[in-house]
């Protein structure tokens, strides 16, 4: 089984589980007084949640493997010549998302495999961003947002009370729909994550991370002479790439990208797509895009979402219309709505 390549190296996971010594944490007395999510990330990692069910496992990675092996075993017991068990990163089961009374997403079932690029496509307002933000618990920050159903990440219920959203977000990076650089220098923007997570605090190690991240995000050459200038002075497209660099600087297992190329020229877009193909070796990527060609070019799997308008109540809900291999979605879609959308005949 190829799980080993999925999750980078073991040391990285351990690195982020053991609380790295942060001078700020030690010197600032407030940190100690902060709520449990701050004070005890180690106690509330996904690892811990898994350990409850499989006490012998030592990390999310091992637990995921153990669980998968168990599934494989039971599958094999039932049917000998079944296709090998999939290496699932996400398993979404009958997910409903609400913003207050508004039902944003209805009955979504979806499985995302490791080392694949999954594209979310669909008309504006159908809930692509909403689902993406559920994948790293970013919607926890919206007070009105509420989910029903199940999202499993490596076999762990992402919304389990034992799971720390902070730890989840360290492993699952995100590039937001609107570029949101910090009002700090270009260097500090990229260095923020490594510093916070304790990956590298300063010195050459940090410089290397920043440079490598900016290189990967196809931005380094443009900014190498002004790393200490404010990021707010960058153009929209440069800011977008800076945000990509910021997200990959912490070495996440999964990268969620919400329209990362919407403000980029074809050259930068190509470099980002190359980056995705490169990252795919080690990471799992989910990308939201309005660009059909891009979805077709880079993704292995495509999920088409749409808005379902209930005729009698006139309420709009986002639904997952079709999910499958990208070639199939674009060449032989099963649903006529998908066909209309991907061929540009969507009303």
């Amino acid at each position: 089984m190829s799980t080993a390549s999925t999750f980078q190296d073991q040391s990285k996971l351990e690195n982020s589980i053991a609380i790295p010594e942060m001078p700020d944490r030690e010197t600032e007395p407030t940190a100690a007084a902060a709520p449990a999510t701050v004070a005890a990330p180690a106690a509330t990692t996904p690892t811990h949640a898994v350990e409850l069910s499989t006490p012998q496992s030592h990390s999310a990675f091992e637990a995921g493997t153990a669980q998968l092996e168990a599934e494989t075993a039971s599958d094999e017991a039932l049917e000998q010549d079944e296709v090998p068990a999939k290496n699932l990163v996400y398993k979404v089961n009958d997910l409903n998302v609400y913003y207050g009374d508004y039902h944003a997403l209805r009955n979504v079932d979806l499985e995302i495999e490791a080392n694949e690029i999954t594209a979310f496509i669909g008309p504006s307002g159908c809930g692509k961003t909403t689902l993406l933000r559920c994948f790293n618990r970013m919607n926890d920050l919206i007070p009105t947002a509420r989910i029903e159903g199940m999202i499993e990440y490596l076999g762990v219920n992402l919304y389990d009370s034992q799971v720390s959203a902070v730890e989840v977000r360290r492993r699952i990076g995100m590039v937001f729909q609107k570029p949101n650089p910090f009002p700090k220098s270009i260097f500090d923007n990229v260095a923020y994550g490594p510093r916070i997570t304790g990956l590298a605090k300063r010195g050459q190690a940090l410089n290397d991370i920043v440079e490598r991240s900016l290189q990967k995000a196809a931005l380094f050459d443009e900014v190498k002479d002004r790393l200490n200038n404010s990021a707010m002075g960058l153009s929209g497209g440069q800011q977008q790439r800076l945000c990509i660099a910021r997200a990959i600087a912490v070495n996440p297992d999964v990268l969620l990208m919400d329209e990362p190329c919407s403000a980029l020229d074809p050259v930068a877009t190509t470099r980002i797509e190359d980056l995705m193909n490169e990252l795919k070796q080690d990471y799992t990527i989910v990308i939201v895009t309005h660009n059909m060609q891009q979805a077709a070019r880079v993704s292995d799997m495509t999920a088409f979402f749409s808005v379902d308008v209930a005729s009698e109540t006139d309420t709009r809900t986002g639904i997952l219309v079709e999910y499958g291999k990208t070639e199939e979605i674009f060449s032989t879609p099963k649903d006529t709505r998908t066909e209309h959308y991907v061929t540009g005949r969507f009303g």
């Binding site: 700020d24 940190a31 999510t37 701050v38 007070p143 923020y192 916070i196 945000c243 997200a247």
Partner: protein, 328 residues
């Protein structure tokens, strides 16, 4: 029209004229100009009042300030019979200590409450109720705070606020004014925190920052200029208040020895403050020493204005500093 065909000169000239006339200015924008004039007038009225006010007090206090400025700054409050000894030193000391108490108590408590309300508390009926009440507190007349101070600090804990002065001390006054400006500090700090773009916080959470780290490294630096302006303005307000001080027992008459300004022990002794000095002296119209007290009152007002002005200059400087830091 057939595209790609070269237009003859006459046609292109005609097109140019039509375009030119359609985008040219058509008369004056009467409503816009009128509105601008109204706004200008309001600004003018404000400035006029301010100028008249400043001119009036500077003129009234001119003689005192030019002939015996040093003596006036070092003089005492009550000695009307010795005009050459009259001065604002004790008032300045009192106001200084009040400012210190406000900075030490109102700022941390106020900013802390604001951070809690804005970043931690759940937005429910209870938190809305609390916020509404804080807003109401900001509008309560200052004399009511004086009563509160009298009850809590003067009569409640005299052994802390002033064992020898029955609690009628700069400590009681400072605490009372700290309570008075607390709602203003909370509200302005809350507004500054609310103005932090949500994208900024999400970016921070997105790379795995905790709530504390996000507040410490993103929200607070971004909101710092706004929080600072609000707090220092509330400080100006505290320094100008007179009514609550009368209730907590500011001395209007003779006040014993003149300690050093940094003599911390004196904060639990009897005290007075600039607004009290001014109120007291202006009430001496139609008395024997009227011609001593009234110019001195004007001079004291000038001193207080300079005090507040200095404070505002510091506020502007700090604001500028934090804004620069935010941009870089």
């Amino acid at each position: 029209m057939a595209f790609g065909k070269v237009l003859d000169d006459k046609t292109s000239a005609r097109i140019q004229r039509t375009v030119a006339s359609s985008i040219s200015r058509k008369g004056v924008d009467k409503k816009g100009t009128a509105f601008q004039m109204v706004l200008l007038t309001t600004l003018f009225i404000t400035m006029l009042i301010l100028v008249v006010l400043i001119f009036d007090v500077v003129q009234g206090g001119w003689e005192v300030l030019t002939t015996r400025l040093w003596g006036f700054m070092r003089g005492e409050i009550g000695s009307g019979t010795f005009p050459e000894r009259l001065g604002v030193q004790q008032g300045l000391y009192g106001s200084f200590w009040i400012a210190v108490f406000v900075a030490v108590f109102a700022f941390p408590i106020g900013i802390g409450s604001a951070i809690y309300l804005e970043e931690y508390s759940r937005k429910n009926k209870f938190s809305r109720f609390i916020e509404l009440n804080i807003r109401n507190l900001a509008g309560v007349p200052s004399i009511v705070y004086g009563l509160l101070g009298l009850f809590l600090f003067v009569e409640g804990i005299p052994f802390l606020t002033g064992p020898n002065s029955n609690g009628r001390s700069a400590t009681s006054a400072g605490l009372t004014l700290a309570v008075l400006v607390l709602p203003i500090v909370i509200i302005t700090a809350q507004e500054a925190l609310r103005a932090v773009p949500s994208g900024l916080k999400e970016g921070s959470y997105g790379v795995g920052a905790t709530r504390w780290e996000t507040i410490r490294y993103q929200s607070l630096p971004y909101a710092a200029p706004g929080i600072l302006t609000g707090t220092l303005l509330s400080m100006s307000r505290a320094i100008g208040e007179a009514a609550p001080l009368i209730l907590v027992g500011a001395t209007t008459g003779f006040l014993g020895s003149n300690p050093n300004i940094l003599d911390v022990g004196s904060v639990r002794e009897r005290f007075t403050a600039m607004p009290i000095v001014i109120t007291e002296w202006t009430q001496k119209t139609n008395t024997v020493n009227e011609d001593v007290f009234i110019p001195s009152a004007a001079a004291a007002i000038v001193v207080l204005l300079v005090f507040v002005l200095l404070l505002n200059i510091v506020a502007i400087y700090l604001r500028h500093y934090f804004e620069k830091k935010r941009e870089s």
